[in-house]
């Protein structure tokens, strides 16, 4: 079951205690505690279904009935006339609770409720996904009767219903506890599923056309309303082999417009829908990916940390015979509570994709093809090529490394390759950003935490869409907003769905002008760059600013952020997108930064690090950043590139990267799967995916999230591979074991020297859309949570729940271009164009938003430009004729 303790581990004031007795045992709990939780404190488990500690009390299933006596006004303890639902009843001083253990009335009431739940529940446990881990099954055995007195006709429904491509519903198994609908409403804020119909229905027929109460998506066909025709979906079948029913494909769906649909054509549902499957206390909600794949008792569960974003969500990996079958949310009140994104839950097949590299490859000199070879040969060749280019190697480790592996990369570059040409940022970046990271982020730990966000008062987002880029932050902020602990403002070009669900005030800003708005706020202005600021500057005092990695694309952005932080006293946190980004900063995967916030330019820092590493000196000139390295490689100024988890489409200029990889003398790649880089690699060394290695991710907060290897096989971590290359070059990197790495890493905490200086870039005024040529627009773009990322490969059911790619623009811009809602808009850049359906929303004129890397819209590659560049807007000829 679920955690029961309060998530506020850092509560300052101790809440008032209330003392009561449960089954004769005295217990003191904080005022406001529900009886069902108080009972848990003394080890009494009252059976329950609808109750969930993170959802509001419902009192719907009535399973947790207990007998209660409480003092009246005169202090006489009087029994309540009816059994009470312990999941909705708050404790009172002097209350006397009798659970099933001490009260026949409570025991009989509970037995009666479970019998009621079972009269319409199918006895298909042997084939049900939930069988073996089912609260209904368990509690029927522990608190129910062995036989049923029901001899009538059960309620049945056609099944299953595909409420999305990933989530399936068997209505006959549902006990209508409403956990799923309450999660959708209270936590995710998505109109995903809700109750429909009324009562228990009539077996065999629906009197008065009234369907029984059931969960669903208001699909006309499934409810039997006019205007609906049942849409069979042969992808999944019911018990008799009949096709499942696709929900949300009714007649009214197309009228919603492309922007509201998911990839499968249903109304877009939720990025968090998988949580409903996990909290379903029966097998009514199942996932297409796991349905009928396994029995819970055949699975081995390993706790782990999700690798898809910088939130470090706790997960549980369930596997059987070296195959991951599913992932569930772990329970970590300080981080993700009990929720994870659908990406963290379902996007795991990439780690065992067919293109996973299993043996080292080297390029055959004669054929020019990559051929498998031995580790010793591949390591030898890599060492030879890299040391041969000593001081002229560019190092691109990528942002998905564990802290331990990242540290090995950092040390390898400095000690073995003698270079500071290292940059983890495999995306749009700037020198100003590197300065900010060195000055403000490196070495700072837990300045802002998930828990802080709930009570921050005011949170300003800049360059960050939490629902898309950091789902756990989104859920925390929304929770805080609904509880009244925080208000959210966002500097963004348009009001996204996620922003609406957080009730955020969005300062509609032209991309590139964020620095102007931040500067205005720092100066206490009520208006800046044409954006109304109101009293936000005032509200930010003592608040929090969350800056996304995209702020790097705005000249002066981080400088202005730093100024605003100083002026307002607001705490600042940098929220990158990848799991390894925050750790990379800490271990110095930047051209100007050594481990532990030590600047390369600081002689004392270099001496410190050199001493720790047992070398005489370290390279003293700050290195090149990613773009500079690629340019140098293209121009012949670098002899080799050592590349880790870098995907070319993520880079601001994929064409430059292609050219650099083609031109440079040697490319050595450390990767989990074949990628576009592999096509250019001379030596390819396979490294372990997260399931095959132990390590630590740092969350955006700086919180270490250690995880153990799920599978123990011959796969090698980046650190081990680098250690082997180093040894081939006669250097001991000390990265053979994690213990060694931990010991070394510990030496780098607490730099008491000068920190790197703050970024000093004056804010660019950005583009002036008003003075731009008609038919042009400033490009806004960011990644969607579910898109074409390689990390989501191999999971088609998840891909079906992606949002449909659309191009957002304002009504005036659409009119200027001559495109109507839903018509195809062509967005052109230097490298080509992207055609997407136009979606007209409120946003600044002459700004167009595109999904950065979704099907049909890979902005950097297809357009050859990045935000906030200027693009051309037009309507394709075919569309004009239509």
């Amino acid at each position: 079951m679920t955690a029961t303790t309060s998530t506020a581990s850092d509560t300052v004031t101790k809440p008032e205690e209330v003392t009561l007795t449960i089954d004769g045992v005295e217990v003191s709990v904080p005022k406001g505690t529900l009886v069902i939780r108080a009972a848990e404190q003394i080890g009494v488990q009252i059976p329950r279904f609808c109750d969930h500690p993170l959802l509001k009390p419902a009192g719907a299933c009535r399973q947790c009935l207990v007998e209660v006596a409480a003092p009246d006004r005169e202090g006489n303890v009087r029994p309540m006339p009816k059994p009470q639902a312990s999941c909705t009843l708050e404790v009172m001083p002097g209350m006397q609770v009798s659970t099933q253990h001490s009260s026949e009335v409570a025991e009989k009431a509970q037995r009666g409720q479970i019998e009621f739940l079972l009269i319409n529940h199918p006895l298909d446990c042997p084939v049900c996904d939930k069988g073996g881990e089912c609260p209904l099954q368990n509690q029927a055995l522990s608190n129910g009767s062995g036989t049923s007195r029901f001899t009538g006709i059960k309620r049945t429904f056609p099944k299953p219903i595909k409420i999305s491509t990933q989530v399936l519903l068997d209505r006959d198994r549902c006990i209508l506890c409403q956990r799923c609908t309450r999660f959708s409403d209270e936590i995710a804020g998505d109109p995903f599923i809700d109750l429909q119909g009324r009562g228990g229905g009539t077996p065999g027929s629906d009197e008065h056309g009234l369907p029984a109460q059931q969960i669903g998506r208001f699909d006309e066909a499934i409810l039997g309303f006019a205007g609906g025709e049942q849409a069979p979906d042969g992808d999944t079948v019911g018990p008799g082999g009949e096709p499942s029913l696709a929900a949300g494909t009714g007649e009214s769906t197309p009228t919603l417009g492309e922007a509201a649909l998911d990839a499968s054509g249903r109304p877009f549902a939720s990025y968090f829908s998988g949580n409903t499957i996990q909290i379903c206390p029966v097998g009514a909600l199942t996932s297409a990916a796991y349905r009928f794949r396994s029995r819970p008792f055949d699975l081995v569960s390993s706790p782990s940390i999700a690798e898809h974003d910088a939130c470090g969500s706790a997960i549980r990996i369930d596997h059987r015979r070296d195959v991951v079958l599913r992932r569930l949310a772990g329970d970590d009140p300080a981080v993700n509570e009990e929720w994870i994104t659908d990406k963290d839950r379902f996007a795991h097949p990439w780690q065992s994709a067919p293109d996973r590299l299993t043996s080292p490859l080297v390029r055959d000199e004669e054929s020019g093809e990559l051929v498998p070879t031995s580790w010793s040969e591949a390591v030898h060749l890599a060492a030879q090529a890299l040391t041969g280019a000593h001081g002229r190697v560019g190092v691109l480790p990528g942002g998905r490394l564990t802290v331990e592996d990242a540290y090995a990369w950092s040390k390898f570059a400095r000690v073995v390759l003698g270079t500071n040409d290292i940059d983890f940022r495999a995306r749009a970046h700037s020198a100003e950003e590197a300065d900010f990271l060195a000055h403000r982020v490196a070495g700072s730990t837990m300045d802002v935490t998930f828990g802080d966000l709930e009570r921050a008062g005011e949170v300003l987002l800049v360059g960050l869409e939490p629902e898309e880029e950091a789902g756990t932050i989104f859920l925390r902020l929304r929770k805080g907003v609904l509880a009244g602990g925080v208000h959210v403002s966002s500097i963004a070009p348009l009001t996204t769905r996620g922003a609406s669900k957080m009730r955020a005030d969005v300062l509609h800003t032209v991309p590139g002008a964020e620095a102007v708005v931040l500067t205005g706020l720092a100066e206490g202005a009520t208006e800046a760059g044409g954006v109304e600021l109101g009293d936000l500057a005032e509200r930010l005092r003592g608040g929090v600013i969350l800056a996304g990695e995209r702020l790097a694309t705005v000249p002066g952005g981080f400088t202005a952020l730093q100024r605003l932080a100083e002026a307002s006293g607001a705490r600042v946190a940098w929220v990158p997108r990848r799991a390894g980004d925050r750790g990379a900063v800490e271990v110095g995967l930047l051209p100007g930064l050594l481990p532990g916030a030590r600047p390369v330019s600081d002689a004392q820092a270099r001496v410190d690090v050199a001493a720790a590493w047992g070398v005489e000196s370290l390279p003293d000139t700050p290195g090149r950043d990613l773009t500079a390295m690629l340019e140098a490689a293209r121009d012949g100024d670098l002899g080799a590139l050592l590349v880790g988890g870098v995907h070319l489409d993520d880079l601001p200029d994929p064409a430059l990267a292609e050219a650099a990889l083609a031109a440079v003398g040697t490319v050595v790649q450390l990767e989990v799967r074949r990628s576009a880089v592999t096509e250019h690699a001379d030596v390819v060394l396979p490294v372990a995916p997260p399931t095959h290695k132990a390590g630590t991710f740092l969350t955006w907060e700086g919180r270490p999230r250690a995880f153990a290897a799920v599978f123990d096989d011959a796969s090698l971590s980046d650190g081990r591979v680098l250690d082997m290359i180093a040894r081939a070059a006669d250097v001991d990197l000390g990265a053979r074991s994690l213990d060694g790495l931990y010991a070394e890493l510990a030496e780098f905490s607490g730099w008491d020297g000068e920190r790197a200086g703050a970024p000093q870039v004056s804010p660019g005024s950005g583009h002036e859309p008003g003075s731009m040529a008609p038919g042009t627009a400033v490009l806004a773009t960011w990644r969607l949570q579910l898109d074409s990322a390689r990390g989501q490969d191999g999971e088609p059911h998840l891909a079906g729940t992606q949002r449909r790619p659309v191009a957002h623009l304002s009504a005036a811009t659409a009119a200027e271009v001559g495109v109507a809602e839903g018509q195809t808009l062509r967005v052109g850049g230097p490298a080509g164009s992207i055609d997407l359906p136009a979606s007209i929303v409120a946003m600044p004129d002459r700004v167009v938003w595109l999904p950065q890397h979704s099907p049909g819209s890979s902005v950097h590659r297809m357009l050859g430009t990045a935000a906030p560049g200027v693009v051309d807007l037009s309507v394709p000829t075919s569309e004009v004729q239509r």
């Binding site: 419902a58 009535r62 409720q113 809700d194």
Partner: protein
């Protein structure tokens, strides 16, 4: 010996009784004029002193309910009239609103003044379109005459009244489900606390009262609390509509002081239909335990009916003669409760589903030996375990019917009810020949 006490029904025989002119010609809206000159707190005291208890069934003191509202905080406060009359047998509010809608509207205005409400709602069950039209017309008349709208009677008090038609669900007569439905949500009962007095409609302080309760307020204000309290018994004051239906010679509405006996009312209604005798009756609709001929002299006030093992509730006196199969009657009632169960909680949703199947086989003479005890046990697992009172309401008729007529249920093990009690003989309106 009690006699009739027509107050709300006094007007019903007037030509066009529903018109504003008719109502005003009989001193209508005098109460509102008086209320406008009275301190609101005094109005609440007046209603408290009158002893008026909620006429929707529960009998909670009306003035006390009003006094539960928190102190004004400048935000809106609402009055919501529960006109979702749907209980089988209960048929008092709908004729009242048809024949004398202005008594309700005047009551709404006075109550609004008393509790500081500027927007009141009348939530009417959706099926009664004729009543809906009548209420809309009456509100329009009252507004045009200055009794409602902005600047009521020139006092500067603003009062908007919205008549809202529900979509036809018994559960929406439960006050919190009604509020959810009125807000445009799914009509299912809310978790209490908070109670509507604290966080009701749109989470604001709200008074929810029955039609007849509110319609009784103008009389109390214009004629005085003492006048009202002079009627009835010690703890059950005032006048009330008694709705006699079923096997009586003259079914209809009989307005009388609380405390009249069923025997007296039955006499006024001409007794049980000719040639037949009383078998059982309900004091307040199908949700109240049935009583039998031995209870003819029970005093019809809250306390005495309670002491007799039932509830006064809505004073819906359904009369059944000896041609009636109790099993069939209870089976139809359970069909109703099963159909109307909102589905929110397990015992009501699943329990009525089960009861219905057991009763249908008993009615068909196909019951099994354990079915009667099973009925009682299932009813016991519903009663007192459901989320709202509707589950209890479903258990009540089953338990009381078996209490008085267990032998008839036992006959359901072998003989269909239609053989024991031919349904043609039972029909109330097919003429004397059958």
């Amino acid at each position: 010996m009690s006699t009739l006490a027509p107050v709300l029904s006094d007007l019903w025989d007037a030509p066009q009784s529903w018109k504003l002119d008719t109502y005003v010609s009989r001193n209508g809206y005098d109460g509102l004029r008086k209320a406008m000159e009275t301190d609101p707190a005094e109005l609440i005291t007046m209603v408290k002193d009158s002893g008026l208890r909620g006429r929707g069934g529960a009998g909670f003191p009306t003035g006390l309910k009003w006094s539960f509202l928190p102190k004004p905080d400048g935000g809106p406060r609402y009055l919501v009239v529960n006109a979702d009359e749907s209980e089988p047998g209960t048929c008092k509010d709908i004729p009242l609103m048809m024949a004398n809608p202005h008594s309700l509207i005047e009551g709404v205005a006075i109550t609004s003044v008393a509790i500081g409400c500027h927007h009141a709602f009348i939530y009417l069950r959706g099926e009664v379109v004729h009543v809906y039209r009548r209420l809309l017309a009456a509100v329009r008349e009252a507004k045009e005459a200055g009794y409602l709208g902005s600047d009521v009677l020139g006092t500067g008090y603003d009062l908007e009244v919205t008549v809202h038609a529900g979509a036809g669900a018994y559960i929406c007569g439960e006050e919190t489900a009604l509020l959810d439905s009125l807000e445009g949500r799914r009509g299912q009962p809310r978790l209490k606390p908070p109670f509507p007095a604290v966080a009701g409609l749109y989470a604001r302080p709200t008074v929810v009262n029955n039609v007849e309760s509110i319609a009784s307020v103008p009389g109390i204000v214009s004629r005085g609390a003492d006048w009202f309290a002079s009627m009835g018994t010690e703890k059950s004051k005032g006048h009330g509509l008694f709705s006699l239906s079923g096997h009586v010679a003259r079914p209809g509405q009989y307005e009388a002081p609380l405390g009249i006996t069923f025997r007296e009312l039955l006499d006024m209604a001409g007794g049980v239909r000719d040639g037949h005798e009383l078998k059982f009756w309900t004091p307040g609709g199908s949700s109240t335990p049935i009583l039998t001929a031995e209870h003819l002299d029970v005093v019809l006030d809250y306390e005495s009916v309670g002491a007799a093992g039932s509830m006064l509730a809505t004073r819906a006196l359904q009369v059944f003669d000896e041609t009636t199969s109790v099993v069939r009657c209870v089976s139809r009632w359970i069909d109703f409760y099963q159909h109307e169960s909102c589905g929110k909680c397990t015992p009501c949703r699943e329990g009525t589903f089960w009861l219905k199947q057991i009763l249908q086989r008993l009615e068909a003479g196909e019951g099994s030996e354990s079915d009667i005890d099973l009925l009682l046990d299932v009813a016991g697992n519903i009663e007192g375990r459901s989320f709202c009172a509707l589950g209890d309401a479903a258990a009540t008729p089953v338990k009381s019917a078996i209490k008085y007529f267990r032998d008839e249920f036992e006959q359901g093990l072998h003989t269909p009810a239609w053989e024991l009690f031919p349904y043609e003989a039972n029909a109330a309106f097919t003429g004397v020949s059958s």
